[in-house]
Amino acid sequence: MTPISPRGLLLALAGALCLAALAAVPWLAGNYWMRILTSILMYCVVAQGLNVIVGFAGYHAFGNAAFFGIGAYALGVSEVLGLGFLASIPVAAAVSALVAALVGWPLLRLRGHYFAIATVALTMAVGELVTNIGGVTGGAQGLALPLDTSQSPEQVYRQIYFLMFGLAVLSTLAVWHLSNSRLGYALRALKDSERGAMAMGVDTRRAKVAAWAISAALTGAAGAIWAHWMTFIEVGSAFDITLSVKGYIMMLIGGMGTIFGPLLGAAFFELFSTLIWSRFTEVHNLVLGILVCVVVLALPFGIWQPLRRLWHGRQGSRA
């Protein structure tokens, strides 16, 4: 058993403090900050979801927003049909995972650019499909979720905050578990060289599909909680490509393939975005665009690596 270094202990303590602080937010900070943090935690989940398929498997799912939307609508329809909020969340996650598995089977055969573009097309196609099915999904008019007026707004938002928090922790644990598991090794192998992995006997197809299903489940759950939060969803905002791009950038900033990278990226980016939105409501797209450009040009490999190098000093980074 390797002895725990003082650095490692410090890190663990910092982590625990963070968690405790986050858990106490509803009582420490006001409603305004709680809402911002809920949003940040949601993006943490989305970024971790992307981390699984992009960071580990190396398949750039630029259109992962499709599963966010599917999760949102699955929850919406489920609530409209009578199933409660809490019970609907796993339903939404399951539906998203199922779609990913079904669609992933053919789509994951594509490589590089083609896969990325196919996922974008998927997002738009599913959005259109939901619009055209109409009926219980509300179609182009949007879907209004049943409103529960028995709880005060504060109670509702607190519940949502904790759900997002729990989901963010869950997704990070999932990624951590993945990195030490067989599936994780298989994914890393096929990211390096798919043919090599196949030659080694890895069932790459199943691994990829499994990764995408996990990614979809996490993203779908986030979408589900988001839908309940918004109480009214429509195709344009549920299947918004911007979500994918933001998640992507967050993952990039934080560092792909790492466990905590996406969290950092999400926190930083979303905090920045929110501050921009409240200050520059008129030109927030412009500022966001500039931010994206700056990040991509300046930090194409994320900030986690340079940070780690800084942390570990002359010892160099521990892979």
Binding site: N31, Y32, T131, G139, A140, Q141, G142, A144, L145, L147, T149, P153, V156, M230, T231, F232, E234, G236, S237, T281, E282
Partner: protein, 408 residues
């Protein structure tokens, strides 16, 4: 000597008392001017910007008028009215976010609703959750008022009756047109209006030969125009908004679709819409919830022409029913607040239910669901470039022209 001293002391005391009384009287604020904040997330940019801006102008005119008259008197307090506006960019989700911001950060006491039922559906959930009264004069989809929400009210007629004035007018023509085509974007209000129109048409001797929808943000409607042409209707009714209707009419003209009557579920009086149509706008019909020639009395504006004059003086253009509805909503809120004697949202909401009265917009009586059971609409036609009311008979300004010149 002693008598004089007693008198003197009393006088001084009285004088001191008098001065003290005056001082206290002067120090007391002459009717404390507190501020009543009302929030409005409207579409100032985006596809609904024309209508959204008109609506905002209406809200703003009401606010100015109330403040000019000294403010809103509630009980023994007088409030200066302030309206906080945000641009929702014609997007439902943005409107909802802004509505929440208005309630939780700007701490508004009431809300003025957005333009479009779709957007209002998103914001209604927020206002209902926080129990803040919303007056939404430009959100008329039936579904909004069928959900049992208690805090959303509209003085305008509901969407499903949107095409009725046009169809009623058409049924009076001789020979009566038989074939009707109904077309509009796939959105809440247009869909309800379209289905409502279909039901009315079929119940009054018309045949609906085509009922179609196109995507909200479509940029090419030549396919729709092609299909309309193939159906060869006598009457074409459009349920869309200014922007897409413009596109539709242009496409129809390009492909030589020329029915005997063209009617829109929206107003034909929006200035730059008419200009953008150019030649060929002549004879087009529209539906109005309000026209300047109505004669109803109003506690703030006097009557419709008083409102129209005030609007034109401030904005240098004639008002449409969008603006009128906004100002009238303000008047109704004012009446309800005064009836309730408080600015508590729930108390005012309860005062609004069952309140019966008149504003320049028309008679009003709200039911439990927030619907104005006395609302009605009229139809106008563009004649010699100006909109003239042609239906109902009672408020008719000119004889309707039918069929359109150049009809095939």
């Amino acid at each position: 000597m002693q008598k004089f001293q007693k008198t003197g002391r009393r006088t001084v005391l009285l004088a001191m008392a008098g001065v003290l009384a005056m001082a206290l009287g002067a120090a007391a604020p002459a009717g404390a001017q507190e501020v009543l904040k009302i929030g409005a997330a409207v579409s100032l940019t985006g596809p609904f910007s024309r209508e959204g801006q008109l609506l905002r102008d209406g809200y703003d005119l009401w606010k100015d008028k109330v403040n000019e008259a000294g403010g809103l008197k509630v009980g023994d307090k007088t409030y200066r009215v302030e309206v906080v506006y945000y641009d929702d960019e014609s997007k439902a989700q943005t409107s909802a976010r802004l509505t929440e911001r208005l309630i939780t950060e700007d701490k508004v006491s009431f809300l003025f609703g957005p333009y479009s039922s779709g957007i209002a559906t998103a914001t209604a959930s927020i206002s209902e959750r926080y129990k803040i009264l919303t007056l939404a004069p430009m959100a008329t989809a039936n579904s909004l008022y069928a959900r049992g929400y208690r805090y959303i009210f509209t003085p305008s007629p509901l969407a499903d009756s949107g095409l009725n004035p046009l169809l009623a007018l058409a049924s009076g023509f001789d020979p009566m047109p038989k074939k009707v085509a109904i077309v509009g974007p796939d959105d809440l209000f247009p869909n309800i209006t379209s289905d409502g129109g279909r039901k009315y048409a079929e119940g009054h001797g018309f045949t609906v030969v085509y009922q179609g929808k196109y995507p909200k943000a479509a940029s090419d409607l030549s396919a729709v125009a092609t299909q309309i042409r193939a159906a060869q209707p006598d009457v074409v009714l459009a349920t869309g908004y200014a922007q897409d209707t413009l596109l539709l009419l242009k496409s129809m003209r390009e492909l030589r679709v020329a029915p005997k009557m063209i009617g829109l579920a929206m107003s034909i009086g929006v200035e730059d819409f008419v200009k953008a149509l150019g030649q060929g706008a002549e004879g087009m019909m529209g539906v109005d919830y309000w026209v300047p020639t109505l004669k109803y009395p109003d506690p703030l504006f006097g009557n419709s022409s008083g409102f129209a004059k005030a609007f034109e003086a401030k904005y240098k253009k004639p008002p449409t029913y969008h603006a009128a509805s906004g100002a009238a909503a303000g008047v109704m809120l004012q009446l309800a607040i005064q009836k309730a004697g408080s600015i508590d949202s729930t108390a005012v909401r309860d005062a609004l239910v069952g309140m019966q009265g008149e504003t320049f917009y028309g008679p009003v009586k709200f039911d439990q669901n927030g619907v104005n059971t006395l609302a009605s609409a009229s139809a106008s036609q563009l004649l010699s470039g100006a909109p003239k009311v042609v239906y109902p008979q009672a408020v008719r300004e000119a004889q309707p022209v039918y069929p359109l010149p150049g009809a095939r």
